[in-house]
């Protein structure tokens, strides 16, 4: 019975759908179903099998396998089709793979602006980011910001609605003015507010306001990579992760003192945002070079099955003298396939 699926498809080919992409790691293979947002983990021998199945018919592959492997082969085919990961075809030439490319019309796709005491030239920054077609901005405040203070930042620029989304991460204030923040959200439809160090126990229902207990005091807390920080990107983001640096690609940042950087945690800066146009910085190969550090080039990560969905960190790496070393705050070991629940001391030290 178990050979039935083999017999009936002997002259066919089995193909994974083009948007179900196998990624081979050291211990196992992950099949990333980018259309349905699902991940499947299988033994690496099935990665080799998937490659063979691109070239050979089911019958040819069955002939290549040992007798005792045929039940596993049949189970594989049954589960792959049941999981809607692939199908049988007569001519695989009619189903070319998806081009592994990524591009974007936006010169900058996301920006971080850190604030503490210094007031930036918000009108100038928003205007420059908008000119670079940047759709997403994250403002991270290490201090409380009253609704009036937020309004002063946001009202500085009259074309704010040309941004797709502006996330403001800010400290939960002692005297939380719910109505004031609600007014901000009604006046600025592209804004969401995330309050950290929240102590509030009242119920607030607004889909663009969220509250977390965790406390932040500086950009040094960025770069956390664990099981729960993984996100499953769609096909476009998957290709961006594969071809570019998944955190820094097309990113520009202003740190709390107004210096232009790839991200606020990076040591190197490219001048003061009050004096240096952001577009000038984008001409600097040293700045844009980091955009192209791919996971396949990074030590340890290159052997990790999560490498094309993991968003990386280049600011905090295990060996600061080696820009190609593994993110310091990653809790996964691809050589054992285990996530660490607790961080190592050296990882904690900088949090």
């Amino acid at each position: 019975m178990e050979g039935h699926i083999i017999d009936t498809n002997r002259n066919n080919f089995f193909m994974l759908y083009a948007d179900c992409i196998p990624v081979k790691g050291y211990t196992r293979t992950m099949i990333c179903d980018t259309a349905n947002g699902e991940l499947f983990f299988v033994d690496n021998t099935y990665y080799d099998l998937i490659l063979e199945l691109r070239e050979l018919t089911i019958g040819e592959v069955a002939a290549m396998l040992g007798e005792d492997d045929l039940p596993e082969f049949a189970t594989f085919l049954e589960q792959m089709t049941a999981g809607d990961l692939g199908t049988f075809v007569e001519d695989p030439g009619l189903f070319p793979p998806i081009a592994e490319e990524w591009d974007s019309p936006f010169r900058i796709t996301d920006a971080i602006i850190d604030i503490r005491d210094k007031q930036h030239d918000y009108n100038g920054l928003f205007d420059q980011l908008n000119a670079l077609l940047c759709p997403y901005v994250q403002i991270r405040s290490y201090a409380e910001q009253s609704p009036e203070a937020l309004n002063a930042i946001l009202s500085a620029y009259d074309k704010l609605s040309e941004f797709r989304h502006i996330e403001i991460v800010l400290k939960y204030p002692e005297d939380f003015d719910e109505n004031g923040y609600r007014n901000i959200l009604s006046d600025y439809r592209m804004v969401s507010l995330t309050f950290y160090a929240s102590k509030n126990d009242r119920e607030i229902a607004h889909h663009r306001m969220s509250f977390i207990k965790q406390t932040f005091s500086s950009c040094e807390q960025c770069g956390i990579i664990n099981k729960k920080s993984m996100s499953l990107p769609g096909l476009s983001s998957f290709m961006e992760h594969k071809n570019h640096n998944s955190c820094l690609n097309r990113k520009i940042s202003i740190d709390e003192s107004g210096r232009i950087k790839n991200c606020p945690s990076m040591k190197k800066d490219y001048g003061d945002a009050d004096n240096v146009p952001l577009a000038e910085v984008l001409k600097d190969r040293a700045f844009t070079g980091l955009w192209d550090i791919r996971k396949d080039q990074i030590k340890v990560c290159k052997d990790c099955e999560f490498r094309y969905i993991c968003s990386d960190c280049r600011a905090y790496v295990e060996d600061p003298s080696d820009i190609y070393s593994k993110p310091l705050k990653c809790s996964y070991d691809p050589y054992t396939g285990q996530w660490e629940e607790t961080m190592h001391e050296h990882q904690k030290a900088i949090l």
Partner: protein
């Protein structure tokens, strides 16, 4: 080329992109949107199209530790 297959086992995971409220959030039931969908759409004259004001798919920075309770 010859392949020796291991026993076939498949593990399926669905990554959950839950809103922040679900991750060690103090309160905030997932509320009915108190603003209609249109409220979060606007016309972008420069790009000459309507755009949704939705968060990015890509994580901009990673300083929320989702593993903490």
């Amino acid at each position: 080329m010859s392949i020796k297959l291991q026993k076939f086992e498949i593990e399926k995971k669905k990554l959950e992109s839950l809103p922040l409220f679900y991750n060690y959030i103090l309160y905030n039931d997932f509320p009915e949107a108190d603003a209609g969908v249109e409220e979060c759409v606007s016309f972008n004259e420069k790009l000459n199209c309507y755009q949704d004001h939705t968060p990015p798919e890509k994580i901009i920075s990673k300083f929320i530790d989702f593993s903490k309770d």
